[in-house]
Symmetry: C2
Subunit: 150 residues, 2 copies
């Protein structure tokens, strides 16, 4: 695994961060892709939303359970988006504004400035229309992802 | 990065593989999680869909552009789900059947048997209801992900 670029955002390390892109709504930033990968961006601009996989580089902790804010129950790490996961891979769906050379302008960011980018994938609707989606413990929180006590 | 478990599916290496979970509809398999991560599964069973991040371990190639089947135009790798990406991280949304100890039974698989698992995340609806989602070159293909010529 090696970074393919860097994510730039208004959130500096230590700032209060929005958690998940619903809270980062309209926050703008950009990706600076390493020049050797620019050819891979062809046709990306037709997509309204893209998935970013990135290295959660500021978090070295690994926990099996965590307490989300506004929730006092410990949840299994795999039932949350907490950063303290065994492999520190983060995932965000962001809106794509435009691509200019090796810069990809994006919106709805919840990612800290300087985060190493690992992959970009087009957002495709993969859930069958008829499927009922259940959100587990998260359902009562009004689709709003939260931070973590510990 | 190290595997947290292994994905088991009916697709052996070299078989015709479904591409993306829409084509893998109803295909069943399971994850065998390493025992040290079982505590992280608490509350996962409330979710109907989970996101798997895995190592695309059978593909060592990296390409910047690729031609999807049924499409003769080269597309940028980041505008596709092709496995030949700079970091070989695959992503699938699958339906969760049940959790039994360190086994997670799943449905809608498009993943080859023996694939090393890197992460499990709960599937949350992150796109705002009002957002219009544009699928770029992929739109005309009826939401069906495809394989790759090369």
């Amino acid at each position: 695994m090696k970074p393919i670029g860097t994510i730039h955002s208004p959130f500096k390390y230590g700032d209060a961060m929005p958690v998940q892109s619903i809270e980062g709504r309209d926050i703008e930033g950009y990706i600076k892709l390493l020049p050797e990968y620019v050819d891979g961006l062809k046709d990306l601009d037709g997509f309204s939303h893209i998935i970013l996989l990135f290295h959660i580089h500021l978090n070295k902790k690994v926990k099996m359970q965590t307490r989300p804010f506004m929730d006092n129950i410990y949840r299994g790490i795999f039932a949350t988006r907490s950063p303290s996961r065994p492999n520190h891979i983060g995932m965000s769906v962001v809106r794509l504004n435009r691509v200019e050379g090796n810069r990809i302008y994006i919106k709805d960011l919840d990612i800290v400035d300087g985060t190493p980018l690992l992959d970009i994938k087009p957002y495709l609707k993969v859930i069958d229309e008829g499927d009922k989606v259940k959100l587990g413990w998260f359902e009562k929180h009004n689709k709003r992802e939260m931070g973590w006590h510990d």
